[in-house]
């Protein structure tokens, strides 16, 4: 448990300029990610769950360096990502790879599979074509592709196999952290099961850490050790998956879980007001972000809420043993 974190995100904020005025100056800002802290330990999976527009994809794109953060620090294996440069930065970057949602648009349609898989190595340079082909063959086999697939083009494959190609490409630099941005939401359930099984197998074999984004709560519960629930760019609840999903503390998490369709029980009656939508992220609400949709909000919710451990807020709240040891935290004073 006390291993040094592989990834530490501190107080990360990302804002985008909104509409521009006549002089081209931004008149408003989109607050996509607001003061997010998170940690990924070696070999664990952290799930990020939330509605569309809550900032989960922006968060991971900032982590991997596709978007420049407005403020905050991203620390990879003890190195501040903003402070390093040159060769060291290239090396650190290769420790993190990303798999996108749609393999159709994230694979070059004109490259054969072996080139697609080894593209990151090709960019890094220093390997002969023959060596790249050997490496491509190893990677392809490890994700369940056949050797004869290596000379085909991406369009010849089904969605599940394309996602396998994307995973093989992400593995090519021997990363320690894989960021999975809704890797199975474009796939059918039977294919989703194959990809999830593959990812779990790779984790067991290679000791990978995963940062897994999904809107599918049952998938996160199955796949992740810990989970962070995001709402309007903020983490509102975090802890071990079992603790958060079995004993949700934040009103938003409770609503989210009650909305998940399940085979076991029929449609639950949830109060109509709970089914509202995310507030405008141009003007952040003062106090608790969830206040307007919350059923139990009171005067105390006018103040900004901090992430605090569930045990600290409610000493006599019945919490499971997992919750105690996993520091289950919630951003709600009334939880």
């Amino acid at each position: 448990m006390n291993a040094a974190p592989l990834l530490r995100v501190e107080n990360l904020t990302v804002r985008f300029p909104g509409a521009r005025n006549w002089f081209g100056r931004a008149m408003s800002e989109v607050h996509a990610v607001n003061n997010v802290d998170l940690v990924v330990l070696p070999g664990e999976s952290l799930g990020i769950v939330g509605e569309s527009g809550c900032g989960k994809s922006t968060l991971v794109q900032a982590v991997i360096g596709l978007i420049a953060p407005t403020s905050g620090r991203i620390v990879v294996e003890g190195h501040d990502f903003a402070a390093i440069s040159g060769r060291q930065k290239t090396e650190i970057r290769q420790k993190m790879q990303i798999v996108f949602q749609d393999p159709q648009s994230s694979l070059d349609p004109r490259l054969p599979v072996w080139r697609l898989i080894t593209e990151p190595l090709h960019i890094r340079g220093g390997m002969s074509t023959a060596a790249l082909r050997v490496r491509a063959r190893e990677l392809a086999v490890s994700v369940g592709l056949r050797v004869e697939h290596l000379d085909r083009l991406a369009h010849e494959f089904s969605g599940g196999q394309r996602q396998r190609i994307a995973i093989a490409r992400a593995l090519s630099t021997d990363p320690e952290l894989l960021i999975l941005d809704e890797p199975t939401s474009a796939l059918d359930v039977s294919v989703q099961a194959q990809i999830i099984n593959l990812l779990l197998k790779l984790q067991r074999e290679l000791g990978l850490s995963y940062l897994f984004i999904s809107h599918d709560v049952s998938l996160i519960r199955h796949f992740c050790d810990r989970v962070a629930v995001m709402y309007l760019g903020q983490i509102v609840e975090t802890g071990a998956s079992a603790a958060v999903f079995d004993h949700p503390a934040h009103p938003y998490t409770k609503t989210l879980l009650a909305s998940v369709p399940s085979l076991q029980n029929s449609l639950q009656e949830v109060d109509a007001s709970l089914t509202g939508e995310l507030p405008n992220n141009r003007r952040l609400p003062t106090g608790c972000y969830y206040r307007d949709r919350c059923l139990i909000s009171s005067a105390e919710c006018e103040k900004p809420q901090d992430l605090a451990t569930v045990a600290a807020i409610k000493p006599n709240f019945e919490i499971s043993r997992e919750a105690r040891i996993s520091d289950h935290k919630v951003r709600c004073i009334l939880a």
Binding site: E51, D188, V189, S190, A193, L256, V260, L263, T275, E277
Partner: protein
């Protein structure tokens, strides 16, 4: 709607086979599909992409591109009428008034250049001889029925000003606006968040139950379908492999494909455990395998499966097209 004695089914598809001719050969999209939707019944159509869920209902409403498909056998009846022989004028009367469709992507189904209110009023006035003012009142009432706050403001808005969930509610309002007898909901919640999805499902179910509207609910997500449907049809590669009351199909699935589909879901297994997946891929529908289409992927298959299995009705109203279930012939009770 006055003849209560012999009221025809809302939708009755009998042994329908349909193919799309291509240069590579005819794609046999549907093969002997039989779907019955009774009055005031909510029926789910479940299957993976490309299994023919949408094609069956689009054939019934004649939304498939004319001249690009062939119906090789079978019949379709919409409230006792045959849509395949209707003239364009008749179809215009039927669509919207008798049967209306809610599509998956609300942005593509709404005209981006016309205000919501005008689009709704247009639909209502096409089918009902009422004044613009009266139609506006109807539209506003139905929008507030869909839990849309400030319907008058939404009616003034353009589609792009609304969120996805709001647009889908507008589309549902539009589908229900002329009190059709049948609503076809083609993956209406796939593009939406779970919280919004739960609300939309509740709206469709509530409104359909109140007005006695039949609903065909198409989805690839068996959990979503199980939430609101009375009966389910499970489709695979253009055939119905299993059908029956929702609880019976979920609790005692008979067809190996239905069983595998349910075992694929992470909901029913321990965290991090191996999920069951279906080996192989969906058959090529230009040249499908002989006999049962699921045979190449089925773990129970034997030599009998090289012949096409007929659908057999079991106790409890469940029907299954599988030789292995015929052998056992044990009556299945739904409470097991």
């Amino acid at each position: 709607m006055t003849d209560t004695a012999m009221k025809p089914h809302a939708l009755s598809i009998e042994n329908l086979s349909l193919e799309f001719p291509t240069y590579g050969g005819a794609v046999k999209a549907l093969d002997g599909v039989t779907i019955q939707v009774g009055n005031a019944e909510i029926v789910g159509l479940v299957g993976e992409s490309g299994c023919g869920k949408s094609v069956s209902t689009m054939a019934a409403t004649r939304l498939l591109p004319e001249g690009r498909y062939r119906i090789t056998q079978g019949s379709i009846r919409l409230f006792g009428r045959d849509p395949t022989v209707m003239s364009d004028e008749e179809l215009q009367q039927v669509r919207g008034k008798l049967v209306s469709t809610i599509f998956q992507e609300p942005m593509n189904a709404l005209n981006p250049t016309i205000r919501i209110g005008k689009q709704l009023v247009g639909v209502i006035r096409r089918h009902e001889a009422i004044s613009r003012r009266a139609a506006e009142t109807v539209a506003s009432n139905i929008l507030s029925d869909m839990l849309i706050p400030q319907p008058s403001r939404i009616m003034q808005a353009y589609p792009f000003e609304l969120s996805g969930g709001m647009r889908q509610r507008v589309l549902i309002a539009m589908a229900f606006s002329c009190n059709p007898g049948l609503i076809i909901a083609d993956e209406p919640t796939t593009a939406l968040d779970v919280t919004v999805q739960a609300a939309i499902l509740r709206l469709i179910q509530g409104r359909a139950r109140r007005t006695g509207t039949s609903v065909v609910f198409i989805s690839h997500n068996i959990a979503v379908v199980s939430q609101i449907c009375d009966r389910l049809y499970i489709m695979y590669a253009g055939r119905i492999v299993e059908s029956g009351p929702t609880r019976a199909v979920l609790d005692t699935p008979q067809h190996p494909y239905t069983r595998a589909l349910l075992r694929c879901l992470p909901e029913r297994v321990q965290p991090k455990a191996q999920l069951e997946s279906i080996p192989g891929t969906v058959p090529n529908l230009i040249d499908p395998p002989a006999g049962c289409f699921y045979r190449p992927r089925c773990q129970e298959a034997d030599e009998r499966c090289y012949a096409k299995p007929q659908s057999t009705t079991l106790a409890g109203g469940q029907a299954v097209a599988c030789w292995q279930r015929l052998k056992s012939q044990t009556p299945v009770s739904s409470e097991a």
